[in-house]
Amino acid sequence: MRGLRAHVVLRDRDVDVVVEVGPDECVAVIGPNGAGKSSIVEAVAGLLALDAGSIDIDGSTVDGGRRPAPPHRRRVGLVAQRSDLFPNLSVAGNVGYGPRSTGRRGREARVASDRALALVDAVGLADRDPATLSGGQAQRVAIARALAADPAVLLLDEPTSALDVEARGSVRAALATAIAGRPSLLVTHDPIEVVTLATRVLVVDRGRVVESGTTAEVLGRPTSDFGAAFSGLVLLPGTATAGGIALDGGGELSGRTRVEPPGRRCLAAYHPTAAVVGPDGSGLLRTVTALEPRDGLVRIHAQELVADVTVAAASRLGLAVGDDVRIAVPVGEVDVYEPRR
Protein backbone atom coordinates (compact mmCIF):
# COMPACT_ATOMS: atom_id res chain seq x y z
CA MET A 1 0.00 0.00 0.00
CA ARG A 2 1.22 3.46 -0.78
CA GLY A 3 1.22 5.76 2.19
CA LEU A 4 2.07 5.00 5.77
CA ARG A 5 1.17 2.29 8.21
CA ALA A 6 2.82 2.57 11.58
CA HIS A 7 2.39 0.75 14.86
CA VAL A 8 4.56 2.75 17.21
CA VAL A 9 5.42 1.29 20.60
CA LEU A 10 7.78 3.28 22.80
CA ARG A 11 7.97 1.80 26.27
CA ASP A 12 9.79 4.54 28.18
CA ARG A 13 7.34 7.15 26.87
CA ASP A 14 4.37 4.79 27.26
CA VAL A 15 3.29 5.20 23.65
CA ASP A 16 1.35 2.51 21.79
CA VAL A 17 -0.35 3.94 18.73
CA VAL A 18 -1.41 2.73 15.31
CA VAL A 19 -1.43 5.33 12.55
CA GLU A 20 -2.52 4.73 8.98
CA VAL A 21 -2.28 7.30 6.24
CA GLY A 22 -3.70 6.53 2.81
CA PRO A 23 -2.10 7.63 -0.48
CA ASP A 24 -4.00 10.93 -0.76
CA GLU A 25 -4.67 11.50 2.88
CA CYS A 26 -3.58 14.07 5.39
CA VAL A 27 -4.10 12.70 8.87
CA ALA A 28 -4.00 15.18 11.71
CA VAL A 29 -2.76 14.06 15.11
CA ILE A 30 -4.03 16.20 17.94
CA GLY A 31 -3.73 15.84 21.67
CA PRO A 32 -2.47 17.51 24.82
CA ASN A 33 1.19 18.44 25.24
CA GLY A 34 3.28 15.44 26.18
CA ALA A 35 0.75 12.99 24.73
CA GLY A 36 3.45 11.48 22.51
CA LYS A 37 2.55 13.14 19.21
CA SER A 38 6.09 14.24 18.34
CA SER A 39 7.44 10.86 19.42
CA ILE A 40 5.23 9.22 16.79
CA VAL A 41 6.64 11.53 14.12
CA GLU A 42 10.22 10.89 15.25
CA ALA A 43 9.67 7.14 15.26
CA VAL A 44 8.28 7.22 11.71
CA ALA A 45 11.24 9.34 10.59
CA GLY A 46 13.66 6.86 12.15
CA LEU A 47 14.98 9.36 14.66
CA LEU A 48 13.62 7.34 17.57
CA ALA A 49 13.97 3.56 17.85
CA LEU A 50 10.83 1.46 18.21
CA ASP A 51 10.56 -0.92 21.15
CA ALA A 52 7.96 -2.92 19.29
CA GLY A 53 5.57 -2.55 16.39
CA SER A 54 6.40 -1.83 12.78
CA ILE A 55 6.49 0.94 10.23
CA ASP A 56 5.65 0.53 6.56
CA ILE A 57 6.28 3.40 4.20
CA ASP A 58 5.17 3.22 0.59
CA GLY A 59 4.66 -0.52 0.82
CA SER A 60 8.02 -1.45 2.28
CA THR A 61 8.77 -2.21 5.91
CA VAL A 62 11.33 0.27 7.22
CA ASP A 63 11.09 -0.73 10.85
CA GLY A 64 9.94 -3.77 12.72
CA GLY A 65 12.42 -6.31 11.52
CA ARG A 66 15.77 -6.87 13.09
CA ARG A 67 17.46 -3.93 11.42
CA PRO A 68 15.43 -0.73 11.14
CA ALA A 69 16.23 1.43 8.11
CA PRO A 70 18.16 4.61 9.00
CA PRO A 71 16.35 7.94 8.47
CA HIS A 72 18.10 8.67 5.18
CA ARG A 73 16.70 5.50 3.61
CA ARG A 74 13.08 6.08 4.65
CA ARG A 75 12.03 8.78 2.18
CA VAL A 76 10.27 10.86 4.81
CA GLY A 77 10.04 14.62 4.60
CA LEU A 78 10.08 16.33 7.99
CA VAL A 79 8.95 19.89 8.68
CA ALA A 80 9.11 20.75 12.37
CA GLN A 81 8.18 23.73 14.48
CA ARG A 82 11.52 25.39 13.80
CA SER A 83 12.56 25.63 10.19
CA ASP A 84 16.16 24.60 10.99
CA LEU A 85 17.55 25.75 7.64
CA PHE A 86 21.24 25.01 7.11
CA PRO A 87 22.89 28.37 7.88
CA ASN A 88 25.90 27.71 5.67
CA LEU A 89 23.81 27.24 2.51
CA SER A 90 21.65 29.64 0.51
CA VAL A 91 17.92 29.05 0.26
CA ALA A 92 18.43 27.25 -3.06
CA GLY A 93 21.23 25.22 -1.47
CA ASN A 94 18.93 24.24 1.36
CA VAL A 95 16.13 23.14 -0.93
CA GLY A 96 18.58 21.38 -3.26
CA TYR A 97 20.14 19.49 -0.33
CA GLY A 98 17.77 16.54 -0.60
CA PRO A 99 18.19 16.03 -4.37
CA ARG A 100 21.97 16.35 -4.01
CA SER A 101 22.03 13.82 -1.19
CA THR A 102 20.27 11.31 -3.38
CA GLY A 103 22.97 11.70 -6.01
CA ARG A 104 21.62 14.29 -8.38
CA ARG A 105 24.01 16.73 -10.01
CA GLY A 106 24.10 20.47 -9.43
CA ARG A 107 21.91 21.51 -12.35
CA GLU A 108 19.26 18.85 -11.68
CA ALA A 109 19.26 19.74 -8.00
CA ARG A 110 18.74 23.38 -8.90
CA VAL A 111 15.80 22.50 -11.16
CA ALA A 112 14.22 20.41 -8.39
CA SER A 113 14.86 23.19 -5.93
CA ASP A 114 13.26 25.83 -8.18
CA ARG A 115 10.23 23.62 -8.71
CA ALA A 116 9.79 23.07 -4.97
CA LEU A 117 10.25 26.77 -4.22
CA ALA A 118 7.59 27.60 -6.82
CA LEU A 119 5.14 25.29 -5.02
CA VAL A 120 5.46 27.30 -1.82
CA ASP A 121 5.52 30.63 -3.63
CA ALA A 122 9.12 31.37 -2.69
CA VAL A 123 10.99 31.47 -6.01
CA GLY A 124 12.19 34.99 -5.27
CA LEU A 125 13.99 33.81 -2.14
CA ALA A 126 16.27 31.32 -3.93
CA ASP A 127 19.50 33.29 -3.56
CA ARG A 128 18.87 34.62 -0.08
CA ASP A 129 20.83 33.75 3.04
CA PRO A 130 18.50 31.85 5.44
CA ALA A 131 19.45 34.24 8.24
CA THR A 132 17.75 37.10 6.37
CA LEU A 133 14.35 35.37 6.07
CA SER A 134 11.30 36.07 8.20
CA GLY A 135 9.83 33.21 10.22
CA GLY A 136 7.10 32.53 7.66
CA GLN A 137 9.50 32.66 4.72
CA ALA A 138 11.92 30.32 6.47
CA GLN A 139 9.14 27.85 7.19
CA ARG A 140 7.96 27.91 3.57
CA VAL A 141 11.53 27.22 2.49
CA ALA A 142 11.66 24.34 4.98
CA ILE A 143 8.50 22.93 3.37
CA ALA A 144 10.06 23.30 -0.08
CA ARG A 145 13.22 21.58 1.20
CA ALA A 146 11.18 18.61 2.38
CA LEU A 147 9.23 18.47 -0.90
CA ALA A 148 12.33 18.65 -3.11
CA ALA A 149 13.52 15.34 -1.68
CA ASP A 150 10.28 13.81 -3.05
CA PRO A 151 9.27 12.10 0.19
CA ALA A 152 6.93 9.12 0.26
CA VAL A 153 5.44 10.51 3.46
CA LEU A 154 5.37 14.10 4.64
CA LEU A 155 5.69 14.57 8.41
CA LEU A 156 4.53 17.95 9.66
CA ASP A 157 5.26 18.45 13.35
CA GLU A 158 3.46 21.62 14.46
CA PRO A 159 4.62 23.45 11.33
CA THR A 160 3.00 26.79 12.20
CA SER A 161 3.00 26.89 15.98
CA ALA A 162 6.19 28.97 16.25
CA LEU A 163 4.91 31.60 13.79
CA ASP A 164 2.98 34.81 14.34
CA VAL A 165 -0.59 35.06 13.10
CA GLU A 166 0.23 36.88 9.85
CA ALA A 167 2.85 34.34 8.82
CA ARG A 168 0.58 31.39 9.52
CA GLY A 169 -1.72 32.15 6.61
CA SER A 170 0.99 31.95 3.96
CA VAL A 171 2.52 28.84 5.54
CA ARG A 172 -0.88 27.12 5.65
CA ALA A 173 -1.31 27.87 1.97
CA ALA A 174 2.10 26.35 1.28
CA LEU A 175 1.17 23.30 3.34
CA ALA A 176 -2.05 22.86 1.37
CA THR A 177 -0.01 22.70 -1.84
CA ALA A 178 2.59 20.46 -0.26
CA ILE A 179 0.18 17.78 0.93
CA ALA A 180 -1.79 17.56 -2.32
CA GLY A 181 -1.54 13.97 -3.53
CA ARG A 182 0.99 13.05 -0.86
CA PRO A 183 0.44 11.00 2.29
CA SER A 184 0.90 13.41 5.17
CA LEU A 185 0.92 13.20 8.93
CA LEU A 186 0.18 16.52 10.60
CA VAL A 187 0.75 17.11 14.30
CA THR A 188 -0.97 20.32 15.29
CA HIS A 189 -2.69 22.42 17.93
CA ASP A 190 -4.32 24.67 15.34
CA PRO A 191 -8.01 23.97 14.52
CA ILE A 192 -7.73 25.99 11.28
CA GLU A 193 -4.97 23.67 10.08
CA VAL A 194 -7.09 20.64 10.87
CA VAL A 195 -10.10 22.07 9.06
CA THR A 196 -8.19 23.21 5.97
CA LEU A 197 -5.67 20.39 5.63
CA ALA A 198 -6.74 17.17 7.32
CA THR A 199 -9.02 14.50 5.91
CA ARG A 200 -8.96 12.45 9.10
CA VAL A 201 -8.13 13.21 12.70
CA LEU A 202 -6.52 11.09 15.40
CA VAL A 203 -6.79 12.20 19.01
CA VAL A 204 -3.84 10.96 21.06
CA ASP A 205 -3.77 11.22 24.83
CA ARG A 206 -1.19 9.72 27.19
CA GLY A 207 0.31 7.67 24.42
CA ARG A 208 -2.92 6.08 23.16
CA VAL A 209 -5.37 6.86 20.37
CA VAL A 210 -8.52 7.91 22.24
CA GLU A 211 -10.54 8.95 19.21
CA SER A 212 -10.36 8.85 15.46
CA GLY A 213 -12.57 9.68 12.55
CA THR A 214 -13.03 12.00 9.64
CA THR A 215 -12.34 15.66 10.30
CA ALA A 216 -16.06 16.44 10.29
CA GLU A 217 -16.79 13.64 12.75
CA VAL A 218 -14.05 14.48 15.24
CA LEU A 219 -14.61 18.22 15.13
CA GLY A 220 -18.43 18.06 15.02
CA ARG A 221 -19.20 14.99 17.11
CA PRO A 222 -16.21 14.42 19.36
CA THR A 223 -16.14 11.42 21.65
CA SER A 224 -13.05 12.26 23.71
CA ASP A 225 -12.58 15.11 26.16
CA PHE A 226 -9.61 16.47 24.23
CA GLY A 227 -11.47 16.19 20.93
CA ALA A 228 -14.36 18.18 22.39
CA ALA A 229 -12.07 20.80 23.91
CA PHE A 230 -10.27 21.13 20.57
CA SER A 231 -13.51 22.30 18.92
CA GLY A 232 -14.54 24.23 22.02
CA LEU A 233 -17.51 21.92 22.66
CA VAL A 234 -18.90 20.68 25.93
CA LEU A 235 -19.22 16.91 25.87
CA LEU A 236 -21.79 15.22 28.09
CA PRO A 237 -22.38 11.48 28.52
CA GLY A 238 -25.84 10.13 29.11
CA THR A 239 -28.64 7.86 27.96
CA ALA A 240 -30.82 8.42 24.92
CA THR A 241 -34.41 9.49 25.54
CA ALA A 242 -37.31 10.12 23.15
CA GLY A 243 -36.47 13.81 22.97
CA GLY A 244 -32.77 13.92 23.57
CA ILE A 245 -30.50 12.77 26.37
CA ALA A 246 -30.80 12.02 30.07
CA LEU A 247 -27.52 13.28 31.43
CA ASP A 248 -25.43 11.15 33.77
CA GLY A 249 -25.11 14.30 35.88
CA GLY A 250 -28.89 14.58 36.20
CA GLY A 251 -31.58 16.30 34.15
CA GLU A 252 -32.47 16.04 30.50
CA LEU A 253 -31.49 18.00 27.41
CA SER A 254 -33.50 18.07 24.22
CA GLY A 255 -31.49 17.78 21.05
CA ARG A 256 -31.89 18.54 17.38
CA THR A 257 -30.78 14.98 16.74
CA ARG A 258 -31.58 11.87 18.72
CA VAL A 259 -30.42 8.33 19.14
CA GLU A 260 -32.80 5.42 18.56
CA PRO A 261 -33.93 3.45 20.41
CA PRO A 262 -34.10 5.33 23.73
CA GLY A 263 -32.06 3.77 26.49
CA ARG A 264 -28.80 3.47 24.59
CA ARG A 265 -25.64 5.13 25.80
CA CYS A 266 -24.98 8.33 23.90
CA LEU A 267 -23.23 11.69 23.97
CA ALA A 268 -24.43 15.26 23.72
CA ALA A 269 -22.34 18.20 22.56
CA TYR A 270 -23.03 21.93 22.61
CA HIS A 271 -20.98 25.09 22.45
CA PRO A 272 -20.76 27.08 25.73
CA THR A 273 -21.81 30.33 24.03
CA ALA A 274 -25.18 28.73 23.19
CA ALA A 275 -26.02 28.06 26.84
CA VAL A 276 -28.46 30.37 28.56
CA VAL A 277 -27.83 31.05 32.23
CA GLY A 278 -30.35 32.28 34.74
CA PRO A 279 -30.81 32.31 38.50
CA ASP A 280 -34.01 30.31 38.07
CA GLY A 281 -36.21 29.03 35.31
CA SER A 282 -36.37 25.76 33.50
CA GLY A 283 -32.69 25.02 32.99
CA LEU A 284 -30.66 22.28 34.60
CA LEU A 285 -29.83 22.99 38.22
CA ARG A 286 -26.10 22.97 38.91
CA THR A 287 -23.63 24.54 41.35
CA VAL A 288 -21.03 26.98 40.08
CA THR A 289 -17.59 25.36 40.46
CA ALA A 290 -15.36 27.91 38.75
CA LEU A 291 -15.42 31.20 36.88
CA GLU A 292 -12.78 32.22 34.34
CA PRO A 293 -12.36 35.16 31.98
CA ARG A 294 -12.28 34.19 28.34
CA ASP A 295 -11.78 36.62 25.44
CA GLY A 296 -14.32 39.18 26.59
CA LEU A 297 -16.65 36.56 28.01
CA VAL A 298 -16.98 34.91 31.38
CA ARG A 299 -16.88 31.14 31.36
CA ILE A 300 -19.02 29.55 34.02
CA HIS A 301 -18.15 26.02 35.02
CA ALA A 302 -21.12 24.49 36.80
CA GLN A 303 -20.12 20.91 37.56
CA GLU A 304 -20.02 19.14 34.17
CA LEU A 305 -21.80 21.97 32.35
CA VAL A 306 -20.10 25.02 30.91
CA ALA A 307 -21.61 28.30 29.77
CA ASP A 308 -20.04 31.42 28.32
CA VAL A 309 -21.86 34.67 29.11
CA THR A 310 -20.99 38.28 28.44
CA VAL A 311 -19.25 40.21 31.20
CA ALA A 312 -22.39 42.36 31.55
CA ALA A 313 -24.57 39.29 31.97
CA ALA A 314 -22.16 37.82 34.48
CA SER A 315 -22.27 41.01 36.50
CA ARG A 316 -26.09 41.03 36.35
CA LEU A 317 -26.21 37.44 37.55
CA GLY A 318 -23.72 38.23 40.30
CA LEU A 319 -22.56 34.61 40.43
CA ALA A 320 -19.92 33.30 42.79
CA VAL A 321 -18.43 29.86 43.22
CA GLY A 322 -20.85 27.75 45.25
CA ASP A 323 -23.99 29.50 44.01
CA ASP A 324 -26.78 27.50 42.42
CA VAL A 325 -27.47 28.29 38.82
CA ARG A 326 -29.82 27.10 36.09
CA ILE A 327 -28.35 26.42 32.67
CA ALA A 328 -30.50 25.83 29.60
CA VAL A 329 -29.30 24.95 26.13
CA PRO A 330 -31.62 25.68 23.17
CA VAL A 331 -32.74 22.47 21.47
CA GLY A 332 -31.22 23.51 18.16
CA GLU A 333 -27.78 23.78 19.73
CA VAL A 334 -27.59 20.30 21.21
CA ASP A 335 -26.31 17.44 19.13
CA VAL A 336 -27.05 13.98 20.51
CA TYR A 337 -25.18 11.05 18.98
CA GLU A 338 -23.76 7.62 19.58
CA PRO A 339 -20.03 7.31 20.15
CA ARG A 340 -18.19 5.93 17.10
CA ARG A 341 -16.70 2.53 17.54
Partner: protein, 266 residues
Protein backbone atom coordinates in the same frame (compact mmCIF):
# COMPACT_ATOMS: atom_id res chain seq x y z
CA UNK B 1 27.61 58.80 34.41
CA UNK B 2 24.61 56.58 33.87
CA UNK B 3 23.67 54.30 36.70
CA UNK B 4 23.09 50.72 35.72
CA UNK B 5 20.62 48.75 37.74
CA UNK B 6 21.40 45.58 39.56
CA UNK B 7 24.47 44.40 37.72
CA UNK B 8 27.01 46.93 39.06
CA UNK B 9 30.29 45.34 40.14
CA UNK B 10 31.57 46.02 43.69
CA UNK B 11 33.56 49.29 43.82
CA UNK B 12 36.75 47.54 44.89
CA UNK B 13 36.72 45.01 42.04
CA UNK B 14 38.87 47.10 39.63
CA UNK B 15 41.78 47.01 42.12
CA UNK B 16 42.58 43.29 41.83
CA UNK B 17 41.51 43.40 38.17
CA UNK B 18 44.10 46.04 37.34
CA UNK B 19 46.70 44.19 39.40
CA UNK B 20 45.93 41.04 37.45
CA UNK B 21 46.34 42.85 34.14
CA UNK B 22 49.63 44.43 35.22
CA UNK B 23 50.91 41.07 36.40
CA UNK B 24 50.71 39.85 32.81
CA UNK B 25 51.68 43.03 30.98
CA UNK B 26 54.64 44.20 33.09
CA UNK B 27 56.89 41.16 32.59
CA UNK B 28 56.29 41.16 28.85
CA UNK B 29 57.00 44.88 28.57
CA UNK B 30 60.08 44.49 30.76
CA UNK B 31 61.35 41.82 28.44
CA UNK B 32 60.69 44.01 25.41
CA UNK B 33 62.67 46.71 27.21
CA UNK B 34 65.62 44.35 27.54
CA UNK B 35 65.79 43.73 23.78
CA UNK B 36 69.00 45.04 22.22
CA UNK B 37 67.49 46.57 19.11
CA UNK B 38 70.85 47.24 17.39
CA UNK B 39 71.61 43.55 17.19
CA UNK B 40 68.02 42.27 17.16
CA UNK B 41 67.83 41.44 13.47
CA UNK B 42 71.25 39.79 13.47
CA UNK B 43 70.39 37.68 16.51
CA UNK B 44 67.03 36.59 15.23
CA UNK B 45 68.34 35.73 11.77
CA UNK B 46 71.34 33.77 13.04
CA UNK B 47 71.37 30.26 11.49
CA UNK B 48 70.64 28.47 14.76
CA UNK B 49 67.74 30.82 15.46
CA UNK B 50 66.25 30.43 12.00
CA UNK B 51 66.65 26.66 12.19
CA UNK B 52 64.85 26.57 15.54
CA UNK B 53 62.11 28.90 14.31
CA UNK B 54 61.60 26.90 11.13
CA UNK B 55 61.53 23.65 13.09
CA UNK B 56 59.06 25.14 15.55
CA UNK B 57 56.67 26.41 12.89
CA UNK B 58 56.91 23.18 10.91
CA UNK B 59 56.37 20.85 13.85
CA UNK B 60 53.61 23.00 15.34
CA UNK B 61 51.81 23.03 11.99
CA UNK B 62 52.20 19.25 11.64
CA UNK B 63 51.03 18.71 15.22
CA UNK B 64 48.01 20.93 14.62
CA UNK B 65 47.15 18.99 11.46
CA UNK B 66 47.40 15.64 13.22
CA UNK B 67 45.47 16.94 16.23
CA UNK B 68 42.73 18.08 13.84
CA UNK B 69 42.47 14.78 11.99
CA UNK B 70 42.32 12.82 15.25
CA UNK B 71 40.65 15.42 17.45
CA UNK B 72 37.67 16.28 15.24
CA UNK B 73 36.31 12.71 15.34
CA UNK B 74 36.86 12.65 19.09
CA UNK B 75 34.92 15.88 19.50
CA UNK B 76 32.06 14.59 17.32
CA UNK B 77 31.88 11.36 19.31
CA UNK B 78 31.99 13.22 22.62
CA UNK B 79 29.22 15.58 21.54
CA UNK B 80 26.96 12.82 20.20
CA UNK B 81 27.23 9.66 22.23
CA UNK B 82 25.16 9.69 25.39
CA UNK B 83 26.96 7.10 27.45
CA UNK B 84 28.55 7.65 30.81
CA UNK B 85 31.72 6.06 29.44
CA UNK B 86 32.06 9.09 27.20
CA UNK B 87 32.56 11.18 30.34
CA UNK B 88 35.38 8.92 31.38
CA UNK B 89 36.89 8.94 27.89
CA UNK B 90 36.67 12.74 27.76
CA UNK B 91 38.46 13.06 31.09
CA UNK B 92 41.25 10.80 29.84
CA UNK B 93 41.63 12.61 26.52
CA UNK B 94 41.67 16.00 28.23
CA UNK B 95 44.21 14.77 30.80
CA UNK B 96 47.19 16.50 29.11
CA UNK B 97 45.49 19.84 29.90
CA UNK B 98 46.20 19.33 33.60
CA UNK B 99 49.22 17.06 33.36
CA UNK B 100 52.67 18.64 33.77
CA UNK B 101 54.21 18.48 30.27
CA UNK B 102 57.29 16.72 31.65
CA UNK B 103 55.04 13.92 32.83
CA UNK B 104 53.45 13.79 29.39
CA UNK B 105 56.92 13.46 27.89
CA UNK B 106 57.76 10.64 30.27
CA UNK B 107 54.51 8.87 29.36
CA UNK B 108 55.27 9.18 25.66
CA UNK B 109 58.78 7.87 26.28
CA UNK B 110 57.36 4.93 28.20
CA UNK B 111 55.12 4.01 25.27
CA UNK B 112 57.21 4.98 22.26
CA UNK B 113 60.74 4.80 23.69
CA UNK B 114 62.97 1.94 22.59
CA UNK B 115 61.86 -0.29 25.47
CA UNK B 116 58.21 0.84 25.38
CA UNK B 117 55.49 -1.50 24.06
CA UNK B 118 54.89 0.47 20.86
CA UNK B 119 58.43 1.83 20.50
CA UNK B 120 59.93 -1.63 21.00
CA UNK B 121 57.72 -3.08 18.27
CA UNK B 122 58.62 -0.23 15.91
CA UNK B 123 62.32 -0.55 16.77
CA UNK B 124 62.17 -4.22 15.76
CA UNK B 125 61.01 -3.01 12.36
CA UNK B 126 63.72 -0.38 12.09
CA UNK B 127 61.63 2.65 13.05
CA UNK B 128 62.87 4.90 15.82
CA UNK B 129 60.65 7.62 17.20
CA UNK B 130 62.14 8.97 20.42
CA UNK B 131 64.59 11.83 19.90
CA UNK B 132 63.53 12.47 16.30
CA UNK B 133 61.51 15.30 14.75
CA UNK B 134 58.54 12.92 14.75
CA UNK B 135 58.84 12.78 18.52
CA UNK B 136 58.63 16.59 18.66
CA UNK B 137 55.41 16.49 16.65
CA UNK B 138 54.01 13.74 18.85
CA UNK B 139 54.88 15.58 22.05
CA UNK B 140 53.20 18.72 20.73
CA UNK B 141 50.14 16.80 19.55
CA UNK B 142 49.86 15.12 22.93
CA UNK B 143 49.73 18.36 24.89
CA UNK B 144 47.86 20.51 22.34
CA UNK B 145 45.09 18.22 21.06
CA UNK B 146 42.84 18.64 24.14
CA UNK B 147 42.50 22.36 23.33
CA UNK B 148 41.24 21.50 19.86
CA UNK B 149 38.91 18.75 21.07
CA UNK B 150 37.25 20.86 23.75
CA UNK B 151 36.89 23.89 21.45
CA UNK B 152 35.22 21.83 18.70
CA UNK B 153 33.07 19.88 21.12
CA UNK B 154 31.89 23.12 22.69
CA UNK B 155 30.74 24.51 19.34
CA UNK B 156 29.06 21.23 18.41
CA UNK B 157 27.06 21.18 21.62
CA UNK B 158 25.44 24.51 20.76
CA UNK B 159 22.05 23.84 19.18
CA UNK B 160 22.17 20.06 19.58
CA UNK B 161 21.83 17.77 16.56
CA UNK B 162 18.63 19.18 15.05
CA UNK B 163 20.25 20.10 11.74
CA UNK B 164 21.82 16.65 11.49
CA UNK B 165 18.44 15.03 12.04
CA UNK B 166 16.83 17.14 9.34
CA UNK B 167 19.68 16.36 6.93
CA UNK B 168 19.24 12.64 7.51
CA UNK B 169 15.52 12.81 6.71
CA UNK B 170 16.47 14.55 3.45
CA UNK B 171 18.35 11.44 2.39
CA UNK B 172 21.89 12.30 3.47
CA UNK B 173 23.91 9.41 4.87
CA UNK B 174 26.01 9.83 8.01
CA UNK B 175 29.24 10.68 6.14
CA UNK B 176 27.52 13.27 4.01
CA UNK B 177 25.87 14.77 7.09
CA UNK B 178 29.26 15.02 8.80
CA UNK B 179 30.86 16.93 5.93
CA UNK B 180 27.91 19.08 4.84
CA UNK B 181 26.27 19.89 8.17
CA UNK B 182 28.34 19.02 11.22
CA UNK B 183 31.72 20.38 10.13
CA UNK B 184 30.30 23.64 8.69
CA UNK B 185 28.37 24.07 11.92
CA UNK B 186 31.54 23.54 13.98
CA UNK B 187 33.69 25.93 11.90
CA UNK B 188 33.89 28.65 14.58
CA UNK B 189 35.02 26.08 17.12
CA UNK B 190 37.39 24.49 14.61
CA UNK B 191 38.99 27.86 13.87
CA UNK B 192 39.55 28.81 17.49
CA UNK B 193 40.58 25.25 18.33
CA UNK B 194 43.20 25.25 15.56
CA UNK B 195 44.59 28.58 16.72
CA UNK B 196 44.78 27.50 20.37
CA UNK B 197 46.25 24.15 19.41
CA UNK B 198 48.91 25.75 17.19
CA UNK B 199 49.82 28.24 19.90
CA UNK B 200 50.15 25.52 22.52
CA UNK B 201 52.22 23.35 20.18
CA UNK B 202 54.50 26.27 19.36
CA UNK B 203 55.20 26.90 23.02
CA UNK B 204 55.70 23.24 23.93
CA UNK B 205 58.81 22.70 26.06
CA UNK B 206 58.65 20.07 28.79
CA UNK B 207 57.25 17.12 26.88
CA UNK B 208 59.46 17.90 23.88
CA UNK B 209 62.63 18.04 25.96
CA UNK B 210 61.76 14.80 27.77
CA UNK B 211 60.61 12.77 24.79
CA UNK B 212 62.54 14.32 21.91
CA UNK B 213 65.62 15.85 23.51
CA UNK B 214 67.38 18.93 22.16
CA UNK B 215 69.26 18.18 18.97
CA UNK B 216 69.88 21.24 16.84
CA UNK B 217 67.93 21.12 13.61
CA UNK B 218 66.16 17.90 14.62
CA UNK B 219 64.34 18.45 17.89
CA UNK B 220 65.52 21.82 19.17
CA UNK B 221 62.45 24.01 18.76
CA UNK B 222 62.37 27.72 19.54
CA UNK B 223 61.40 27.37 23.22
CA UNK B 224 64.29 24.92 23.73
CA UNK B 225 66.65 27.25 21.84
CA UNK B 226 65.56 30.16 24.03
CA UNK B 227 66.16 28.13 27.17
CA UNK B 228 69.64 27.11 26.00
CA UNK B 229 70.61 30.59 24.81
CA UNK B 230 69.49 32.08 28.11
CA UNK B 231 72.60 30.61 29.74
CA UNK B 232 75.03 31.31 26.91
CA UNK B 233 73.74 34.51 25.36
CA UNK B 234 70.85 36.27 27.19
CA UNK B 235 70.46 38.85 24.38
CA UNK B 236 69.63 36.15 21.83
CA UNK B 237 67.25 34.50 24.28
CA UNK B 238 65.37 37.76 24.79
CA UNK B 239 65.28 38.49 21.04
CA UNK B 240 63.89 35.03 20.26
CA UNK B 241 61.42 35.31 23.10
CA UNK B 242 60.15 38.50 21.52
CA UNK B 243 59.60 36.58 18.28
CA UNK B 244 57.42 34.11 20.18
CA UNK B 245 55.56 37.00 21.81
CA UNK B 246 54.85 38.48 18.39
CA UNK B 247 53.59 35.12 17.10
CA UNK B 248 51.38 34.79 20.18
CA UNK B 249 49.97 38.29 19.69
CA UNK B 250 49.22 37.52 16.05
CA UNK B 251 47.48 34.30 17.09
CA UNK B 252 45.39 36.10 19.71
CA UNK B 253 44.60 38.79 17.14
CA UNK B 254 43.33 36.15 14.70
CA UNK B 255 40.98 34.67 17.30
CA UNK B 256 39.61 38.02 18.41
CA UNK B 257 38.98 39.15 14.82
CA UNK B 258 37.02 35.96 14.32
CA UNK B 259 35.07 36.45 17.54
CA UNK B 260 34.32 40.04 16.56
CA UNK B 261 33.06 38.92 13.17
CA UNK B 262 30.82 36.38 14.84
CA UNK B 263 29.41 38.98 17.17
CA UNK B 264 28.62 41.17 14.17
CA UNK B 265 26.79 38.24 12.51
CA UNK B 266 24.33 37.55 15.25
Amino acid sequence: MTSRSGTAAPWWLPVPAVLGGLFVVVPVLAMVGRVDWTSFVALVTAPSSLTALGLSLGTAAAATGIAFVLGLPLAVVFSRVRSRWVGVARAVVLLPLVLPPVVGGLALLAAFGRIGPVGGFLADHGVRIAFTTAAVVMAQTFVAMPFLVSAIEGSLRIGGDRLERIASTLGAGPTRVLFTVTIPRALPGIASGLVLCFARALGEFGATLTFAGSLEGVTRTLPLEIYLQREVDPDTAVALALVLVVVAVVVIGLTSIRTGARAAWS
